[in-house]
Amino acid sequence: MSPKRKNALLALALAGIAVGVYVAFFFEMAAR
């Protein structure tokens, strides 16, 4: 895997965690 692709994949995974936390929190609270 090229270094550039490796960087992009890790960045996307971390961004996914951030967006996931945001969405999960919002909908978890909405479900209460």
Partner: protein
């Protein structure tokens, strides 16, 4: 310094300034502006972050002077209570999200690539975007002073139902926080990817400098909790405009829920503002003690432990809202546990100095000021952690004294120390040492005059966030306000000293700058070339942590 290792190359990022130096003002105003607006260079962006941050620290500082002027004497002096509350709110938001956090991101931008031997951050265009969001976010936030209903006046904690009384400023504040959050998250992602993927091949994780380690852990905290804040303020927005009732008891919601969500973000946020400071102090003290950092690995584990514990202590900010006793006990003991890894760090700093060959240049003075004064803030934090007594301290000026001790002579002293420490590397000239020493002693005296009396005010029962108070609190308030004004004025000496460096006035700095400095950043010339480590360096083991 280094020999080229031809087996590894770092990717280049497509911008066309690899083969010549940066555009300067001599090339024309427009090309110069385009350079700064479009730059993807980590050193340029580090400079932009630091200039932005210092601007915000001065704006927030002026707001604090409005607060302290009003509190100089009992009664309403200068501003009406509504505006006073707006100052309280904006001072905190500007200092936290506009001052301290961008300053640490700026330092990371400048130093992390140079400390780990890579050419730039992993995602340079994202880095540019992350910075340029901030001026818009804070123009919007400060713009709320001019909208109908005034700026937010609920305090930076934005507790409902009070925050629902905000006028047109509410959506602007929420959007500004979203933007600042996106900026922090992009910065954090960039730092994690850079550290994990782009270190020089000879640098294993546990051999990284402490500043890099503390930033790696801070970046994970940012990625984990900034979205929680974003979620909380989005819920405020939907409660206000779209008929949801997350925090409205009349619709089945719960205002206390907001406090839990907010502090689930808010407590790790406290460590986001102090862990990089620990990294800075752990870098500076060994340099001026001319000894390796005592217990490097234990420092890393201590920082990781503090970061973990930061997620399970949030309710100590809200002991008085009503919680099961078992929960209060859990949060009390978990909070007290933080003293263990923090103690490890303080003892390690002291052990590093023990029998060291110490000198006291300005960065070292600010680092030592940090160790002593941050520890005072830590001890008052331990007092606040005790549930039964917190019922007395809660929402009093004692809390204001506590968190200002950890944030001003804590976080901000570390930022000042870092700038003095690295500015010879950035500009190629030494700052004026005499002015630096004056700046430290002036700041160290007046910061204590400013904040120490606030402990007494709080213990005597003066509440926080009020523009007026009972007459028995007058003397300590006068002393505190005097300290605030004199501390603030002293910071112009710092700005003058830094501007002189940026203009190249002063003694030329050597590459190593400080006799006891170790690390890759000192192996390049001063000022650091526009591009460093385009090929990964072969590292002399003596430069490793």
């Amino acid at each position: 310094m280094s020999t080229v290792n031809p087996t590894r190359t770092h990717d280049h990022h497509g911008h066309d300034d690899h083969h010549h130096g940066p555009v300067t003002l001599a090339d024309g105003v427009w090309p110069w502006m385009k350079r700064w607006i479009g730059t993807t260079n980590h050193k340029d962006l580090g400079t932009l972050y630091l200039i932005f941050s210092l601007t915000m620290l001065f704006i927030g500082g002026v707001m604090s002077l409005v607060i302290r002027a009003e509190l100089f004497a009992p009664g309403i002096q200068f501003v009406d209570p509504g505006f006073y509350n707006e100052m309280i709110t904006l001072h905190a938001l500007v200092m936290i999200f506009g001052g301290v956090m961008p300053a640490f991101v700026g330092l990371a931008n400048w130093m992390v690539p140079m400390m780990i031997g890579c050419s730039d951050l992993a995602l340079p265009r994202v880095n540019n975007w992350g910075f340029w969001i901030l001026p818009f976010a804070f123009s919007m936030l400060l713009g709320t002073l001019f909208v109908s209903g005034g700026a937010p006046a609920s305090g930076w904690t934005m507790y409902p139902p009070l925050v629902m009384q905000t006028g047109n400023a509410l959506p602007l504040m929420v959007f500004a926080i979203h933007l600042a959050g996106i900026s922090s998250i992009t910065g954090a992602i960039n730092i994690v990817v850079t550290i994990l993927n782009m270190r020089a091949p000879d640098m294993p994780l546990l051999k990284m400098p402490l500043f890099v380690w503390t930033w790696l852990i801070t970046a994970y905290l940012l990625i984990a909790v900034m979205p929680v804040l974003a979620g909380a303020v989005t819920m405020l927005l939907t409660d206000h405009f779209f008929g949801t009732t997350f925090f409205d008891a009349a619709g089945g919601g719960d205002p206390v829920l907001f406090q839990h969500i907010f502090w689930f973000f808010g407590h790790p946020e406290v460590y986001i503002m102090i862990l990089p400071a620990f990294g800075i102090v752990s870098t500076i003290i060994p340099t001026f003690a001319r000894k390796a950092l005592f217990g490097h690995d234990s420092m890393v584990y201590a920082v990781a432990s503090i970061a973990f514990l930061s997620f399970i202590v949030w309710a100590h900010h809200m002991f008085t809202v009503g919680m099961p006793v078992s929960a209060e006990l859990f949060f009390m003991f978990a909070t007290m546990l933080i003293a263990v890894p923090t103690g490890v760090k303080v003892f390690n700093w002291v052990a590093t100095m023990w029998r060291g060959s110490m000198t006291f240049e300005t960065p070292m003075l600010f680092a030592l000021g940090f160790v002593v004064l941050f520890t005072i803030g830590g001890f008052s934090g331990l007092m606040l952690a005790l549930t039964p007594v917190d019922f007395q301290y809660h929402d009093s000026y004692f809390v204001v004294a506590h968190f200002h001790y950890v944030l001003v002579p804590g976080a901000i002293f570390s930022i000042i120390a870092a700038i003095y420490y690295w500015i010879p590397k950035w500009t190629g000239v030494m700052y004026n040492e005499k002015l630096g020493q004056f700046h430290f002693w002036w700041s160290a005296v007046w910061i204590n005059v400013l904040f120490f009396p606030q402990h007494f005010l709080g213990l005597a029962g003066m509440p926080r966030r009020i523009p007026d108070y009972a007459v028995q609190f007058t003397d300590f308030n006068m002393i505190s306000s005097l300290g605030a004004l004199l501390f603030f004025l002293g910071q112009f000496v710092f700005i003058y000293n830094m501007i002189m460096c940026m203009r190249g006035a002063g003694k030329k700095a050597t590459g190593r700058v400080w006799e006891g400095a170790r690390g890759l950043e000192w192996t390049v010339a001063s000022p650091a070339p526009y591009h460093t480590f385009e090929q990964p360096p072969k590292i002399d083991p003596r430069e490793l942590a």
